[in-house]
């Protein structure tokens, strides 16, 4: 039954991947006008040179032919070369993906580590001043534009601290330009962007843990456990928290799609060489092949994330059945 469910999901996924890539291509093709990616900016080019360049890029053919050719190549593992710089699209993606994963994973870990205690405290003392305080904090965390928070952190923790001769944090890139790249150096560069991104996660998740805890604590089996004289600590941590965290795991699984576009603003503000920024920049330049490649990857990630989340949910919560 699970096998049939997975097969059905797989088929649906194929439709989604085809749909998403096709929509992306059509939008690019409709908006491009007479612009030839990376090239059409040269007044010295004669019309015949432009035609030749368009043909070299495959843009002289209708979009559906381009699409089928592209899809055929992708099915053979060939993502082609960027229209802007001629480098293999796959190498672009593989260059950037680890950076994005590094940033997002760190933010998620920090987010979880902070969100759980905050949420638990809020639930245990719900209605109290602490709870209200935490709620306001998490709601406030949700109310700050990320780019704005990033810029403020740079001004405070990078520029201002440095000007006062204090230890300061680097403000852009994944490592120092000169002799950078060791673990400590990378960590130092990670702090500011990961903080901004995790702030956001913490805000959502702490609220989530709180309501989930509240719900669990009101269940009969918790009351039973308490009635049986189990220590409050055991009740909360053994029974309460464990059950309250199940949906959180699903929620984290659902962040996978956010890996590509979720961190985009943070990547842009901190010059973080991630995949979201790559995709964003290349979309503005009509780099068809790169955009299509990233879209393809991103969609697969989304689908995998959704599937994983659903499966996890099923495993963790036996009440769910697949049909």
């Amino acid at each position: 039954m699970l096998a049939k469910y997975v097969a059905r999901r797989f088929l649906a996924s194929v439709v989604v991947v085809l749909g998403v890539t096709l929509i992306t291509l059509v939008l690019m093709d409709r908006t491009r006008g007479t612009y030839v990616p990376g090239i059409d900016l040269n007044p010295s080019l004669r019309p015949e040179d432009i035609e030749h360049l368009r043909a070299n890029l495959g843009l002289d053919r209708p979009f559906y032919v381009w699409y089928l050719t592209w899809m055929w190549a992708v099915l053979h593992g060939d993502f082609g070369h960027s229209m802007i710089d001629g480098s293999p699209v796959l190498s672009h993606i593989l260059d950037r993906l680890p950076n994005t994963l590094e940033l997002t994973a760190t933010a998620i870990v920090i987010g979880v580590l902070i969100a759980i205690p905050l949420g638990v405290v809020g639930a245990l003392r719900h209605g109290s001043k602490t709870d209200h305080g935490l709620t306001v904090l998490s709601v406030a965390g949700f109310a700050v534009p990320q780019f704005w928070m990033g810029l403020m952190l740079i001004l405070i923790f990078s520029v201002t601290l440095e000007q006062h001769g204090l230890p300061w944090l680097p403000s852009s890139g994944a490592f120092s330009a000169f002799n950078g790249g060791d673990l400590l150096d990378r960590l130092a560069h990670l702090i500011l962007p990961a903080t901004v991104l995790s702030f956001f996660y913490t805000s959502i998740w702490s609220r989530f843990v709180r309501s989930s805890m509240l719900e669990v604590l009101s269940q009969d089996y918790i009351r039973t456990a308490r009635a049986k004289g189990m220590s409050e600590r055991r009740v909360v941590y053994l029974h309460g928290l464990r059950n309250a965290l199940i949906p959180l795991i699903t929620l984290i699984g659902l962040e996978l799609p956010g890996l590509v576009s979720g961190g985009l603003v943070v990547e842009v503000v901190f010059g973080w060489p991630g995949i979201g920024k790559l995709a964003f920049e290349r979309a503005l330049q009509y780099d068809y092949t790169t955009v299509m490649g990233v879209t393809f990857f991103a969609t697969i990630l989304v689908i995998a994330g959704n599937l994983l989340a659903d499966l996890l949910y099923g495993v963790l919560d036996p009440r769910i059945r697949y049909g």
């Binding site: 080019l45 070299n56 070369h81 001629g86 001004l155 959502i204 060489p273 503005l284 330049q285």
Partner: protein, 573 residues
């Protein structure tokens, strides 16, 4: 998504539009192109005091420099690149036959001397320096030079996506290499700007690329990781999206550089350039006019400002078949609108004074510049109104002028994301409203703007920036042959006198004669004003005080800066 945010002739006219591509500053990078544009304006060589200053102590060996910029690079192949940022990094690793001095005069680089022109002016003979070596110790020969140019002019290499093909295939007939040190370039016609525009491309190693099929050159590994270089520095590593690391090339013809490393770092935006100049994360970086004071106040940074041949202009639609053409066909209307614009105020407010109001179409940095052409425009609202009245455009009941039932009402387009251009359109809107002209700003994305200017051409008026080279030839903007699809004379300016002057001026190598012709050209242009230039920009660089030997100037700031190898750092780090 889960969240709240989900949400140069020389190196090419081709970049010009791209250079203008600057959305939010950080997006300038995405143009791949240069943002330098935002930093230029023109007067004379003012404030040429240079960041590094003159060395007061003897140069030290060792250390590194981090140069920051908010333009990302695309390729490291000199014949494929079409953006200033790439050209700049290429320039650190590849020298051409010739190079520019800071005033734009040509100086020999890989060539031993400036080339001799044949008596008919159609062939140039270059002698290479003796003992030139690639970074892998192989000799640099005339074959390398020929190979490099073949990529862009020779029909057998037509599958190489070189943005230089248009020009080079038009002007180069053949290249002869009588011996390993001699290159003879035979041109198809006398073309005065040839050397200044086409003799500076980085020379590529034939022994590395020569064996590849033409189409394979577009995607060669070399483009992203050149194994062999001939410039002051050689390639070490490119961390995509972040930086290019380069190391000293001991085989450099002018002698090994003082520095061990030169790093080109990509930053998010112009504010980041300011921040990182202050923190010392970068040593050299272009400064946005709005950030000038912030950088100037930093103790560890000196600022250098100089005039550059980059300008911002707006163009009137002159095609009589289009709506704009019906409005702007009368010269008096074009002149009136320019008189109504307080350009001094624009330079002060929008560029914080770091720019110069244009008197002429030629930049003040040019040897052909005429500072008082036939018609001079200073802010004169009364004159603007009388010109319009005289041309028959009378104010209607709604305050808008009209003639023959047609209202003086039009749209102005520029690319979204460039703050300065956005601001200029707004100033134009208000200034013209004051004289009864209804102009509406409209921002479109850069590729769409390019399409509008070069092909679609349904605009009434557009505003962009442009970057001229050292040579005063401006045919690409003003000659009527460039009104064809794809040409940059998208505003359909057709003037037989201008065509004839421009043709004569490139057909002779006699500078005095050229200067006279360009003087006439500037007079005509000042009277016709098909596309008035608002200002010439200034280039501004912030340079860390630990860096010595940097020599930024109008023409040697971008690509292969002839002073790169002379840079050193006081702390030796």
């Amino acid at each position: 998504m889960s969240g709240d945010e989900d949400p140069d002739k020389g190196f090419g006219q081709f970049e010009r539009f791209l250079e203008e591509w600057s959305r939010r500053d950080f997006l300038k990078r995405t143009g791949g192109a240069a943002a330098y544009l935002a930093f230029m304006a023109g007067g004379a060589e003012l404030l040429a005091a240079c960041g590094g200053g003159t060395p007061t102590t003897t140069a030290k060996k060792g250390g590194h420099v981090v140069e920051g910029n908010f333009s990302d690079i695309r390729t490291l192949n000199s014949m494929l690149s079409s953006d200033t940022a790439s050209n700049q990094v290429i320039g650190l690793m590849f020298d051409g036959l010739l190079n520019y001095k800071r005033n734009g005069d040509l100086i020999p680089a890989l060539a031993q001397d400036l080339p001799k022109a044949s008596s008919d002016g159609q062939a140039y003979t270059f002698k290479l320096r003796s003992n030139l070596k690639w970074s892998d110790d192989k000799p640099i020969t005339s074959d390398d030079v020929k190979f490099t140019y073949q990529l862009a002019y020779d029909p057998q290499y037509k599958d190489v996506n070189s943005p230089r093909r248009g020009d080079l295939s038009k002007y180069i007939k053949s290249i002869d290499t009588p011996d390993p040190q001699t290159v003879v370039i035979n041109t198809t016609q006398v073309f005065a700007p040839f050397l200044s525009s086409h003799a500076r491309y980085g020379i590529l190693p034939k022994h590395v690329l020569g064996s590849l099929a033409p189409a394979a050159i577009n995607t060669a590994d070399f483009n992203a990781a050149p194994t062999v270089c001939n410039g002051a520095f050689k390639f070490v590593k490119w961390d995509k999206g972040q930086q290019v690391t380069m190391a000293r090339n001991d085989n450099y013809w002018a002698g090994a550089p003082y520095l061990d490393q030169w790093i080109y770092k990509v930053l998010p935006d112009s504010v980041a350039v300011t921040n990182q100049l202050k923190t010392g994360e970068i040593d050299i970086g272009p400064v946005d006019p709005s950030q000038f004071d912030a950088v100037k106040s930093a103790e560890n940074v000196s600022v250098t400002e100089f005039a550059v041949p980059t300008f911002t202009f707006y163009a009137y639609q002159l095609d009589p078949a289009k709506k704009g053409g019906t409005l702007f066909s009368d010269k008096a209307v074009r002149q009136a609108l320019l008189f109504a614009l307080n350009r001094t105020q624009v330079v002060n407010a929008v560029y914080f004074g770091h720019g110069s109001v244009a008197n002429s179409v030629e930049p003040p940095t040019s040897w052909a510049y005429k500072d008082k052409p036939k018609v001079l425009y200073s802010f004169d609202k009364a004159k603007a109104e009388s010109l319009l009245d005289g041309a028959g455009w009378a104010k209607g009941a709604d305050g808008i002028r009209a003639k023959g039932g047609v209202k003086m009402k039009f749209d102005m387009i520029t690319n979204a994301g460039n703050k300065q251009r956005e601001a200029m359109l707004q100033v134009m809107q208000q200034s013209w409203k004051d004289i009864g002209v209804d102009a509406t700003p409209s921002l479109i994305q850069f590729p769409q703007l390019v399409s509008q200017i070069t092909n679609i051409r349904t605009f009434d008026m557009f505003l962009v920036g442009f970057n001229f080279d050292e040579d005063p030839d401006q045919a690409q903007l003003w000659h009527s042959r460039n009104t064809v699809a794809g040409g940059f004379n998208g505003f359909d300016f057709k003037n037989s006198e201008v065509d004839s002057i421009l043709e004569q001026a490139v057909g002779t190598l006699d500078r005095n004669k050229r200067k006279e012709l360009y003087g006439q050209f500037q007079d005509v242009m000042s009277d016709e004003v098909p596309a008035p230039i608002i200002l010439f920009n200034h280039g501004i660089y912030g340079v860390s005080k630990r860096v010595q030997g940097a020599d930024f100037g109008s023409f040697n700031q971008f690509a292969s800066r002839p002073w790169n190898y002379k840079v050193w750092v006081t702390d030796g780090k």
